[in-house]
Amino acid sequence: DQQVKQNSPSLSVQEGRISILNCDYTNSMFDYFLWYKKYPAEGPTFLISISSIKDKNEDGRFTVFLNKSAKHLSLHIVPSQPGDSAVYFCAASPISSSGTYKYIFGTGTRLKVLA
């Protein structure tokens, strides 16, 4: 049961253009979302997060949008740079009543930015 889905395994974008990575989730109890970038042979690196009380969060070239009614979030990268080429994971965490805070990750989208 895949609660967090990234339906596009790969995406290619020209340098300088916008990259849009999408993520869908099924659990309405998710209340905190993060995006991570992963290079080969490295651990995931945190990019940006958003709480369910917001619908947008910006940090430099990265913006995350959350549409709670559609259970959809997206990551926008503007402008895209060749160094952005990596695998991007979205992750979600449900409201915890037990004290456990665990993240459920999507399967990732491989972004390639073409020079």
Partner: protein, 113 residues
Amino acid sequence: DAGVTQSPTHLIKTRGQHVTLRCSPISGHKSVSWYQQVLGQGPQFIFQYYEKEERGRGNFPDRFSARQFPNYSSELNVNALLLGDSALYLCASSLLGTNEKLFFGSGTQLSVL
């Protein structure tokens, strides 16, 4: 400041053996979580520890166990290794162990032959 450090970086074991993976969190972080990443998939939650107590456990068999030490470092142990345990094992630390960003180490690549 040092990030999350994991050792060893690579490990090759045979079926039935036991393995211990180690993790040192970022200084000041009190929570450590372990994730397993199989090729082509996203990381999957195994354990969370906070202040040396187990906070939660994912859908993994009892062959998997972990602990957190007084200095907040952590070990993940896997007994009776199976071929399917081959994966990248990631350790992540966070300050308070609540809904906050996780800082990941580079992982331990385990191959079971």
